[in-house]
Symmetry: C2
């Protein structure tokens, strides 16, 4: 029986048995959850290069050996084919299927990439008494495409996608301080204040996730977002790409504090 | 005429004209100098992966497109074939030649990797009033192989190589603080105190560089070192590898402060 104190390996085991098909926020609190991207080896150098050139939106936590589904660095013994609750299969940039394991899609030439996510710094914000509005309102974080371009490779390019958390003006600096330590989980904000300056027309119309309340006296603060990698992949239209389903992340053995400098 | 205030692009131009064949420490102070590694594309994913798994010894600042000698991120317009004062050519892990340009060795399948070095944090130490002994003694920094293993890939593995700077005991914490900000230039130390604990038998017999004086009341402090990547390459014995010659680094347009978190 899973509970608040279940270890990531227990949760992964239940996924492996096909018995867990829910979003992962709130599970294994304090452990690092990661975005999953699986690509053929023919694209692996280029994707690694894209992440290396854009480490703030794409903080790589682990890359598997070609054909090996075990993320040895962040979760020895885990199996990327089965240990997430839900996956998405893309062919030539089109979503074709959502599945609860990828055993039948796995191939000897696939490489798995695990990318840090904002849950890690959100825990730190909450512990520091900073409000996290979408948590308060039980919503998904609002995410927006910006007019900032990532550094491209020959194959991968993408506009930068950001997430937004409104903060009382007198807590903005503290939010920068607290989140900047988590430099393998997007780190410090990329922008503070005017959404227009980064090409966002209307905070109430996020491109992904849900709009949240911004109270009088609050400032919108923007962090880079791992959805950037998904856009880069969709634009490249690889013959096969597999990702986690939104909110259905890989739960690693790393602790949030492992992602600080 | 080059002087203390010459811009990196001027120094690179003089190298390109074949008129500069000296070590680079002291040139373009405040600008980032980088280690160079050039490998065939067939090894590029594996080497990028090795650097990604070992970011402290191998902080990647730029990776060129396949066949393109221009490091567009850190020095637009530069040419890795000519803009360093001196290079080393390795065939199957053996040093075969030292040259002042690599025009005749360049191929359409080569990839250049530029890796941060300790000069960046040493400038910061000096500005903070922390002694840098090998600078005081006009020597090369002492470097040692340790018993710490890097995280391997299928092709690349290496013991961690460290550099050592002795510090008065009451300045050790400040040295950690000052250098930890430079997380793209090896960052904070990897070890403080007993050399034996990391497999170093005799501080007076460095594996690379020169021994320096350690005064009474001083503590040896160890940082990861980019020579680690060179060991990894020698062990992998690629059919061709090209590096900078020791001390003859690539001078980029980045400022030291660009390497802080």
């Amino acid at each position: 029986m899973l509970n608040l104190y279940s270890h990531p390996s227990e949760i992964r085991q239940v996924c492996r048995e096909g018995k867990l098909d829910i979003p992962t926020p709130g599970l294994a609190l304090g452990f690092v959850q990661a975005n999953l991207v699986v690509l053929p080896y023919s694209l692996a150098f280029e994707f690694l290069l894209f992440c290396q050139r854009n480490p703030k939106p794409c903080p790589l936590l682990d890359v598997t050996e070609v054909g090996d589904p075990e993320p040895k660095l962040i979760a020895p013994g885990a199996d990327l084919r089965t240990d997430l609750p839900r996956y998405r299969i893309f062919r030539h940039g089109e979503l074709v299927e959502e599945v609860t394991n990828i055993r039948s899609f796995w191939r000897d030439d696939l490489v798995g990439f695990l990318i840090g996510c904002s849950f890690s710094f959100e825990h730190a914000m909450l512990k520091s008494g900073l409000p996290v509005r979408h948590v308060e309102e039980a919503k998904n974080v609002p995410m927006y495409q910006t007019n900032i371009k990532c550094i491209s490779t020959k194959i991968f390019s993408s506009p930068l996608v950001v997430s937004m958390r409104p903060l009382p003006a007198n807590k903005v600096v503290r939010a920068v301080e607290v989140t900047s330590r988590y430099n393998r989980a997007h780190g410090s904000p990329i922008h503070i204040g005017s959404p227009q300056m980064i090409g966002i027309q209307d905070l109430n119309q996020p491109d992904y996730g849900d709009a949240v309340t911004v109270y009088d006296g609050e400032v919108p603060v923007f962090w880079t977002c791992g959805v950037t990698t998904q856009l880069a992949i969709l634009q490249a239209k690889p013959e096969l790409a597999i990702t986690h389903a939104p909110g259905h992340m890989f739960i690693s053995d790393l602790k949030d504090e492992d992602l600080t400098f």
